[in-house]
């Protein structure tokens, strides 16, 4: 049986993830990277548990959310590289 799926938008592109997935899972499917460092390097999650801060994205207008810690909800608007 297929698990229920929810749809979020990452940089305007819609992506389906299983219910209960983190926002980071959706970003990993849809975007080339999560954020850029001050010197312009593309960054992506390292720890997956909220420690490294490398997966920060804007979620529903709120900046610097650690996407690995935030469960995906239907209709979320996620912006990377902010």
């Amino acid at each position: 049986m297929n698990a229920p799926r929810i749809r979020i938008a990452v940089d305007g592109c819609e992506v389906d993830v299983p219910a209960g997935a983190s926002v980071a899972a959706g970003v990993a499917l849809a975007a080339p990277h999560f954020r850029r460092s001050r010197s312009g390097q593309p960054r992506a999650p390292l720890c997956g548990m909220g420690v490294c801060f490398e997966c920060r994205v804007r979620i529903d207008g709120v900046e610097h959310q650690r996407s690995c810690l935030v469960p995906a909800r239907e209709g979320m608007q996620v912006v990377c590289d902010d």
């Binding site: 001050r38 920060r56 900046e63 610097h64």
Partner: protein, 366 residues
Amino acid sequence: MASYDLIVLGAGIVGAACAERAVREGLRVAVVEPGPVGGGATAAAMGHLVAMDDDPAELALSRLSLQLWERFADLPLAEFSRCGTLWIAREPRELDGVAAKVARLAEAGVMAQRIDAAELYELEPHLTPGLCGGMRVPQEAVVYPPRVAQYLLQQARELRAHCYLGRRAVALNARGARLDDGSDLVGPVLVATGCALPELLPQLPMRSRKGHLVITERYPERIRHQLLELGYADSAHGDADSSVAFNVQPRPTGQILIGSSREFGQDDAAVSAPMLRRMLERAFAFVPMLRDLQALRVWTGFRPCTPDGRPYIGALESRPHTWVAAGHEGLGVTTALGTAQLLIEQLLGRTPAIDPAPYAPSRALR
């Protein structure tokens, strides 16, 4: 036995600046620093390069230093950012005083202008409604102080200054200073140890004034100028046991640095939640959107304070070959380079660029 023309105790921004200046003058210099370079008051400073006009002596020293800071304007590691300073008036009474401030600064060669409320909100749209205007000082800047201290010391080392890092001076004697490993350095001594000054020179009064700082995540363009309330000097110079003032700085990274608190009689470096709350509420009253930002870190530091608020810069006449550069309170980053010039000029017997009398340590000897 190692012999020098100048033994600098302390490698904060003041000591490092003095050491650098001394080696550039051809002196054989030693630097003694027990902790990290620029790790004391220097590391806890906001790095604002600002002319304070309340005291003529302070203004003369800031002005001299601000000119010297131009040397760092293109040095990437200094993180020099010419954001300008915006002094904010909450009440018409505060705005009334601006014309006199502008005149005092102009006389010292610092360009400043009075701005009305409309201009204020054009410059800083996130300020809370209802403010009266203020004063803009467009040429002022911010730097990253500990890196500048490290750079100055590195410059001094490249010019053959000898560094005793991890060593502490435990006593002054007639010939120089004794270090904690029992070795003696021979030569004139410059004590630039900030809050630790009384350990070696208990005859010079010095108190520590604790401060808190908060740094946020990166929120570029929210704040464009170094922002202070015009009542800031009342807090900075007042004698109250504790006070807070609105002071927010845009870092070149997009992070926002939020100050400031002042507390006498606090030796504990731990963050005080009530003091932090008081400081942040003050900041939120001026810039409400700060309330919604994420803070990354909070830390504290200690400012070295003399009884009259002026630094000690010069010879300690009661002790042969002993010099002092300490007690800059909250203005040590701005005035470090001017302090170094003033001190080394005196050491070499030259006529200093500004009158050294207001800073003479002898005024405070007990």
